[in-house]
């Protein structure tokens, strides 16, 4: 049919328009494919660029070494430990609180104006720029409690940053659990608490864990909050688990080295630190997702 149209264009009054339309469609297809492929390639190029510059040069000395202000060859040991330590404390605070708030909104909350307002609050808190949490942390910990720039202040401020996201993720995943599961649990005589603990949360776990890993990756790389509340220096010791020592994390150290430090090999440290940072974030995403993936396969088979 295509052929006949092209052979006698005068037969169809719309043929001129049709040709134009087809040309537009071809161009559109071409543009979208080219740009799509280009951008995807660009993204992979970006990841490759970060990892290939830094990863081959990383040694154990670098990962566990002390950072130095003047001499070359400084490591990232304390900052890396601080990163994990602050992440751990902030999750310890934000996961129970966030999950409890999410469970309340999904299970207990009546459907009225007040709860609608609470939902807006959670959403609003989720959209507050991270630097505001930093300012809040300064006002709270440095000014009000007068403990200075500490790991504790950084971790708590970071926990506040994560809280709304966890609340929303928990609420959404619990809401998406099929009603039958809940009804079945009630029918067996389970109380509300038993239903939540033994039926709803296990069924919603995959969504919740995805949310937690999202939050953990974000918290691990967060720097604005940490600069303001935990400072840009470390205590300079390797295994320092005091809550009240200054706690620069790896992300902060990367910024510090790149823009403030006077070390000779700052460029190389920044390269390696960026590679470690990206590597760990990718790892957090992968490690958390592998059990989910296995679980999904197992449930699919049965």
């Amino acid at each position: 049919m295509k052929h006949t149209l092209e052979m006698n264009p005068s037969a169809n009054p719309f043929s001129g328009k049709k040709g134009l339309n087809r040309l537009k469609d071809r161009m559109f297809t071409g543009i979208v494919w080219t740009l799509g492929v280009l951008i995807i390639a660009f993204i992979f190029g970006l990841l490759y660029l970060i990892l290939q510059d830094g990863l081959p040069k990383i040694t154990w000395d670098f990962i566990f070494g002390l950072p130095s202000e003047i001499d070359e060859g400084g490591g990232i040991g304390p900052t890396l430990i601080n990163s994990f330590y602050i992440l751990f404390i902030s999750l310890l605070i934000s996961i129970p609180l966030g999950m409890a708030a999410g469970i309340y909104l999904a299970e207990f909350a009546p459907d009225n104006k007040l709860i609608g307002f609470v939902r807006i609050c959670v959403e609003g808190l989720a959209s507050v720029p991270s630097i505001i949490f930093g300012l809040f942390g300064i006002a709270l910990f440095v000014e009000y409690f007068e403990i200075g720039l500490t790991i504790l202040g950084g971790a708590v401020s970071l926990a506040f940053l994560n809280l709304p996201v966890l609340t929303r993720v928990t609420e959404e995943s619990i809401r998406s659990v099929p009603k039958e599961l809940k009804s079945a649990s009630f029918a067996l005589g389970g109380t509300h608490l038993q239903t939540i603990m033994r039926a709803l949360i296990p069924a919603a776990l995959s969504g919740i864990i995805t949310g937690i890993c999202l939050v953990a990756g974000r918290a691990f790389g967060e720097s604005a909050v940490i600069i303001l509340t935990a400072g840009v220096t470390t205590s300079g010791e390797m295994w320092d688990f005091s809550l009240f020592s200054p706690g620069a994390t790896l992300a902060v150290h990367l910024w510090y080295v790149q823009s403030e430090a006077i070390v000779g090999d700052a460029q190389e440290i920044a390269q390696k630190a960026a590679a470690v940072l990206v590597f760990v974030v990718l790892l957090i995403n992968l490690v958390f997702r592998i059990p989910l993936w296995l679980n999904a396969r197992r449930t699919k088979r049965s």
Binding site: N21, D25, M27, V32, L35, G36, I39, I43, F44, L46, L49, I50, P96, L97, G98, A101, Y104, E107, F108, A109, V118, I120, C121, V122, E123, G124, L125, V128, P129, S130, I131, I132, G134, L135, F136, I138, A139, E143, P164, T167, T191, H192, L193, Q194, I196, G221, S223, A224, I227, A251, V252, L254, W255, Q258, S259, Q267, A274, L277, V278, N285
Partner: protein, 320 residues
């Protein structure tokens, strides 16, 4: 195994029950009221957690406002909002440069980011075969998690030399560099949510369009994009919120000089970058610090307004 636990539990339960019957006073600890009690307790804990989340938002709002508003005891309202003189050493606190910078940067970022994101969203939802789609979507999700410092670092080491080479200007940092870095950061978010919105358009719409003889371009342009409009708007606002509040990536490429950005390649400063660069050097009880908190309060108000806009869009989408 089941039997053994059953058998093991039986005597304990009965003895517990027996005790409760024997001693009338220990009634609150029988199984029934214990369950009732723990249910109640759990419920109250959950309520407390939910109110705590709200409390934080109000504490932040209150604290930022209370500290920020002290600025006006030293300088006038007009001086803060309409003056371009930011010389804290000489007691001049005009924030117009930073406010303008934030708006200009956000607008420029959206100008670059939205068309590209839409193309990626259409690419993912309409063009790509399912197996490739399932591979690409997690990759985009992964990109959202890359720390902003890393983007800033890449901007500083890769993008700025590139801009210097291409334009031949001496510095390279400024609005253009910041907008490009922000575009790369916001792109995954905006395109993924738009992709979800386009994929959620019922298949019968596009089927009907194709059945009427429309080309793919016409279907995407006149059917899919208009139907997914509210979802796409949501994505754009979310991207906007991220661009307004982003700090570290911007700090590293914008130049941090308090001058009005009348050119794309001129080093300037925005609200976030100015706060983070100066806050640690000022005493808490100074006008300088109050002015910085006021700028933070402005950021807070802007981002909350965006949430209101999103709610409004969602309600409109639900009605339609």
């Amino acid at each position: 195994m089941l039997e053994s636990t059953h058998a093991g539990r039986q005597p304990r339960l009965s003895s517990e029950l027996g005790k409760a019957i024997l001693a009338g006073s220990s009634k609150p600890f029988d199984r029934r009221s214990r369950l009732f009690f723990s249910n109640r307790l759990f419920r109250y804990l959950c309520i407390a957690a939910a109110s705590f989340v709200c409390l934080i938002l109000f504490l932040i709002l209150l604290l930022m406002f209370r500290t920020g508003v002290l600025t006006f005891s030293h300088i006038s309202f007009a001086d803060f909002f309409f003056s371009t003189e930011w010389n804290p050493e000489n007691e001049q606190y005009g924030a117009l440069i930073f406010i303008f910078g934030t708006f200009a940067l956000t607008a420029l970022t959206l100008l670059i980011c939205v068309p590209i994101s839409l193309i990626i969203a259409v690419f993912l939802s309409v063009f790509v075969p399912p197996w490739l789609k399932n591979m690409l979507r997690p990759v985009l999700d992964l990109l959202v998690g890359i720390p902003s410092v890393v983007y800033g670092y890449l901007g500083l080491t890769v993008l700025i030399p590139l801009i210097r080479n291409v334009t031949g200007s001496g510095m390279g940092d400024g609005l253009l560099a910041a907008a490009l870095v922000l575009t790369i950061m916001v792109l995954p978010t905006v395109s993924r949510i738009s992709d979800d919105a386009i994929s959620a358009v019922p298949a019968k719409f596009s089927d009907a369009s194709y059945a009427l003889g429309a080309t793919r371009f016409q279907t995407v342009w006149k059917v899919l994009l208009p139907s997914a409009k509210s979802g796409i708007m949501y994505a754009v606002i979310l991207g906007m919120a991220r661009a307004v509040g982003e700090t570290m990536a911007v700090v590293m490429v914008i130049g941090n000089t308090p001058q009005l950005a009348d050119s794309l390649l001129k080093p300037t400063s925005v609200l976030t970058s100015n706060i983070v660069m100066q806050i640690s050097n000022v005493p808490f009880d100074s006008t300088w610090n109050y002015a910085l908190y006021l700028m933070g309060f402005l950021l807070l108000v802007i981002s909350l307004l965006m949430i209101v806009a999103i709610r409004w869009l969602q309600r409109k989408g639900a009605q339609a």
